[in-house]
Symmetry: D2
Subunit: 458 residues, 4 copies
Amino acid sequence: MTQQRHVINASVSPKGSLETLSQREVQQLSEAGSGSIYTLFRQCALAILNTGAHIDNAKTILDAYQDFEVRIHQQDRGVRLELLNAPADAFVDGEMIASTREMLFSALRDIVYTENELDSTRIDLSTSQGITDYVFHLLRNARTLRAGVEPKMVVCWGGHSINSDEYKYTKKVGHELGLRKLDVCTGCGPGVMKGPMKGATIAHAKQRMTGGRYLGLTEPGIIAAEAPNPIVNELVILPDIEKRLEAFVRVGHGIIIFPGGAGTAEEFLYLLGILMHPDNAGLPFPVVLTGPKSAAPYLEQLHAFVGATLGEAAQRHYQIIIDNPAEVARQMTQGLKEVKLFRRERNDAFHFNWLLRIEESFQRPFDPTHANMASLQLSHALPPHELAANLRRAFSGIVAGNVKDKGIRLIEQHGPYEIHGDPEIMAPLDKLLNAFVEQHRMKLPGGAAYVPCYRVVR
Amino acid sequence: MTQQRHVINASVSPKGSLETLSQREVQQLSEAGSGSIYTLFRQCALAILNTGAHIDNAKTILDAYQDFEVRIHQQDRGVRLELLNAPADAFVDGEMIASTREMLFSALRDIVYTENELDSTRIDLSTSQGITDYVFHLLRNARTLRAGVEPKMVVCWGGHSINSDEYKYTKKVGHELGLRKLDVCTGCGPGVMKGPMKGATIAHAKQRMTGGRYLGLTEPGIIAAEAPNPIVNELVILPDIEKRLEAFVRVGHGIIIFPGGAGTAEEFLYLLGILMHPDNAGLPFPVVLTGPKSAAPYLEQLHAFVGATLGEAAQRHYQIIIDNPAEVARQMTQGLKEVKLFRRERNDAFHFNWLLRIEESFQRPFDPTHANMASLQLSHALPPHELAANLRRAFSGIVAGNVKDKGIRLIEQHGPYEIHGDPEIMAPLDKLLNAFVEQHRMKLPGGAAYVPCYRVVR
Amino acid sequence: MTQQRHVINASVSPKGSLETLSQREVQQLSEAGSGSIYTLFRQCALAILNTGAHIDNAKTILDAYQDFEVRIHQQDRGVRLELLNAPADAFVDGEMIASTREMLFSALRDIVYTENELDSTRIDLSTSQGITDYVFHLLRNARTLRAGVEPKMVVCWGGHSINSDEYKYTKKVGHELGLRKLDVCTGCGPGVMKGPMKGATIAHAKQRMTGGRYLGLTEPGIIAAEAPNPIVNELVILPDIEKRLEAFVRVGHGIIIFPGGAGTAEEFLYLLGILMHPDNAGLPFPVVLTGPKSAAPYLEQLHAFVGATLGEAAQRHYQIIIDNPAEVARQMTQGLKEVKLFRRERNDAFHFNWLLRIEESFQRPFDPTHANMASLQLSHALPPHELAANLRRAFSGIVAGNVKDKGIRLIEQHGPYEIHGDPEIMAPLDKLLNAFVEQHRMKLPGGAAYVPCYRVVR
Amino acid sequence: MTQQRHVINASVSPKGSLETLSQREVQQLSEAGSGSIYTLFRQCALAILNTGAHIDNAKTILDAYQDFEVRIHQQDRGVRLELLNAPADAFVDGEMIASTREMLFSALRDIVYTENELDSTRIDLSTSQGITDYVFHLLRNARTLRAGVEPKMVVCWGGHSINSDEYKYTKKVGHELGLRKLDVCTGCGPGVMKGPMKGATIAHAKQRMTGGRYLGLTEPGIIAAEAPNPIVNELVILPDIEKRLEAFVRVGHGIIIFPGGAGTAEEFLYLLGILMHPDNAGLPFPVVLTGPKSAAPYLEQLHAFVGATLGEAAQRHYQIIIDNPAEVARQMTQGLKEVKLFRRERNDAFHFNWLLRIEESFQRPFDPTHANMASLQLSHALPPHELAANLRRAFSGIVAGNVKDKGIRLIEQHGPYEIHGDPEIMAPLDKLLNAFVEQHRMKLPGGAAYVPCYRVVR
């Protein structure tokens, strides 16, 4: 394998006057080998340079480029990065693609800032409000929060590995969003994270819109597996998965959910859990589930699952639109108008959804041990938004068991997770998971046949 | 007097997407009356709104607008400021002048950030390096540090209250700087702080340069007395006088010194003290003393004083150019070329002079008590850069005794400061100070005849 | 059919300060029904509004929207167009797509200017130089000629109706051109005229290039059949086919030829005829024939035909690259460097290829009567560039006989054209034409089975 | 004298992609010595290069730089101008000031276009409408007509040689106009033509307005005497004085008249003659006469003259404001609102005052022979607007007799012009002219004591 890798050495500076670092910050980043900041930056840089490559396994990439190094220099014109043994794909005839260069410096910015910010006593991560403030500061520092801009940031969630029919559909939806001058935010990898941005790029060009935003939100654990696609023109690396989820729902003004696997289900349940919280009643938040005709069964299944577990009230938080990109965009446009009206009335910021209540339980990571999985309460006795929270945790555990290092090791040691609960919840859950398997939506690294990492105990 | 004041109530939002604040930050600023942040912001806001008025006494302004209030609101499009009983001069037919609006939000930014930054454990104000890092962070947050831009920021120092002949000369020098596409940085008040910016604005227009920078550096204690002139298009409020001085010499690439009083002498000695430090030997830093023909005696006196006290070596750090604006600009352009070359060779940033050694004694405030003034060592036994430091302190004390609240009160209680030292230093000092008085460069608030606040003990 | 047409009434103004018209010019355009200018503008406007529709027959469109009307008004903010019964496709939720709006006003500009220009005595269309000046004036008025920009305009020629494999390939080539920051110029319809622009748009976004140019050159006779695709961000309507061809070779710095039919062959022979002219010896003009693997036989056939008729010398004017988009872009980049060097040495404009000699015979329309077709001299006795000119005329006649009103009527009356010539030319010609038919590259309006409009007389 | 002239040789290209010329156009301009176009361009170029110099005599400049040459080259990046023995004042350290460079290429553009346009049969200079169309085409080609921009172009008329008090006042008025975001148009020389632009530049900077327009309208006969000041950022050279006057009133939305001499009086009467035309009744056109306190007698005299000759109706077309720059700007702002409303209601263009009726007599030059002057009908028997036209001619003759070659020669041959008319007109005319002489507003080239070139025959 190794001999096929093309590598390149290069030296890059930010275009324009992007970022400046203090000598101390440069030093922190330069203590190669030792510092955790350096390790983090190297890993993100490698993922970014690997953009466009179709490897959805972080470990594979890290292994393939073991001799990759990035050195940071302070110079007359600012910071310069020296890359050794970098993947050649990020270069065109020896010159780095501008978007890749931009993202490298975005990563630098976010990693340095995240580190500095944690030193500050003003950040109190022990409270819900403190966590939200932290997310706000990270996004503000990344210049993601644009005061004065009307609500038009549409988040697109869904699988990073979907079939060609579904991919084309996401491009069409993106095109219709773009024709209506909406912006697109995704998790910034391939698949659903790329298609809508590509469609919107073409549509923005047709609308002669030069400031179209393609915002990618990621985190260090996921960036390598889902390398940012180069259309992303704003990249923010949040410190972990929960901050990233919070960033999605506070920065996005509406959400479109395309077909995906357990990860998408996790995101969907996270969203429903929040929207169903009594404090959020009346707060407009347009959500559309959509896909091409071929994805209709999938969407109906998901819808049925929500109905069977969280009830009709949950179903009222979204609408399903099959095979009609223009209608998706029209509904989203309509929903955004209500968001705008609501925020204006309540004096809430357009650029950050302060009014949305997110319970601390949604802000804290779920540790998918066998014990935690087994003791998840999945019962209709709970208020629906708490049930949603627990279902989200169940899916989170399954994602971990499928693809994350720690989860995989736990499964190897102790066998599949056991998930217990009310039979009326267990049955639809089992059915949904089986459908995911049948539809090849439970992808494994390497592409082996899927062996479930869970057992639904009815 | 009061009945002449025109006041106005208004509500302003930042143009474009300038600044966003978190709810907590808004709250901090809103606790009117109680919080020191609010008091600070109100005071700066009042000074900014008073732009163009010719009052050089902070107290007068604060007294004149006792019922002035500023309220801060978070809303859909971002932050909004509500101003009550604001000076009407900042408005044109009821609409606030854009530069004033910009500066209000700059003040907001700097005050909030300064406060937050002090909470951070990464800032260690007990070390020289820590103080420099702090200044760097404040300037970076204000987006003053533009990586990649070649050295062209020329600092202009001199009196805020000069005669018409000298004022016209500063405009001409600014015009010649502007024709050579140089930027201008001043203390952002009237007089020398305004003239060069005005000249440069016209020249930049002639050169079709749209991004010309007119950088004003100020601090809360001085902003009211020297309200920012509205040509300033970048305003930074540093937390105190020493941070401001450090900002000048680290951000400026060259310095022009026009006629002024004790304050200007203080700045000049601060600069000489730094440039004469052995560690800074060989570091290029163009300095020009200049004025119209009528100011020649003043400049020669200053020059003679430097020669008599710090010696010929000190004189080699600057050149004197009389009545020749084009030559001033040419010499500065030449000096900037050397700065560029030097930084390129040493890999120092163009945007921040990291290599300049500033001793901690220059970074710490001097407390002008009678005891401190009397015990200043002013002797040729000291290394010249330490003598410069002490002379700077002497002038700093005189400025305090002339115009600052605390200094004035001390003088009232204990009589004039006594300044002791070697006779060969005392004689020229006395002579210079007398000349300042004769030339009416020792201005007092209110304009009363000058009674010296010091006594040079030969 | 009629009931399926969605029509819309709308009123549009140019965005920004695009065009201003005098009262006389508005009047000329307003004399609806009578004036030929109005008719011309209405026809172009209809074609532009029909963008995206997949009808390649001008007549069909004109028939489908017989009640379409466009009225022009002079108002406070400039010109306004009132559209009645316009095709609804050009609108998104009732608002016209920006690119469509732009193109409408480009059409207005070109039609008004072309008319005015013809009134000028400085234009002497009786000489070759006069025709070239005319083309220059039309392009200059359309602001197509950008002084100071280095050579990077790549013309893409090929069929407007190609298969999906070939279409995808044109997108990939466009993407590689775009990654190298090259611009794209096409005939501005669908197929090869759209794919490269789409690919380049995505690549320019990746390279953060905001000023990418997608130049479409068309003429009134062809615009309806090949409606401008909405990615085109500069549209120029030249008065006839020969002016359009001259515009292509004088404004383009290199040409890529993708698979196409008789029309593409005509363009290719036009180009070869010019490049082979002795006066153009040594003038660099990069030409690449390319296509996906599946198109290899087609390209080889074309190449063989050139070899058999015009000889090896002709073949040296282009290179063939199969299935390698990056290599196409690399070769083009290399070729453009030579163009730049050459123009710099000869002091020729980057923006207009003055040095290229185009004989008057190439600038004059060929009238494809049976007599003219029959008397075409297709013989090796001619100098190769004259033989190329005559072969181009033969293809031009075939295109007319296939799709143009007048040509079709002539064929109906008199039967197929007869083409005579040397057997060594007739044989490869016959073979090439047969291959075109077999490969379905000889499309007819309506899609009927192809009956040749010509007979090659060996 | 000659040895004091500093001259320089230089080569300049337009910045950005300003203008492109055809080979034929370059050739026309290159036939040095012979062609009248070359002579015209050389003369304008010399005047532009002489910007800032204080010579108000065209002949002096032309004589001083007899060996000045300008050569025009066509090159890779477009047109290049080679200047030999050019005045050194237009250069800063050897580099041409950007505004000067811009104006050189504006002159090139206008001279080439004017020439070409005259070749066009669509221009019919024998009709009033044809002349207006011609003016429109010239302004459109210079990109002066910006569709979509609301009325805000304020024309400032007045003397090019005024005293320091009056000059400062024009700067203040310009500053107040600029604070209200209005643009300024003048005859583009020194004095009143410069002051308002300078003031507006500073005010636009304060308002952070980057697109402020400083439009200078001139003509070849006047450009040398009133060299464009370098703040002008749009220069248009109209072919003669009447086209220039028409351009002023069709492009300007309001007019401010500052103190001046016979030329200013001529412009004022031209304006009154038009506004008093019955067809223009009801058409809003704000006109303000203003000056500092010291100019009050002048303004009152002018006002009295208008009252005595054209009557109270004429006086209603303007207002007089003494020493109140802010009020001038406020009145102008108010007047512009009415202009906007009116044009919107009548569907007239904001960018060109089509509705303003200008009689052909105002569009045709007046030839100031002794016979023509003597036979001017200056009688109350005429309709007031015709009387205004004749009074304008009288002043036009006096200007010619004062400063123009031909006029001066006629006076030398035949003695002063005789002006006849009704005694009630002759008396105030005589008084006004005497006042001009006393106030030194009748400047002569060279500055000799004024000997009247006219005799008012009562």
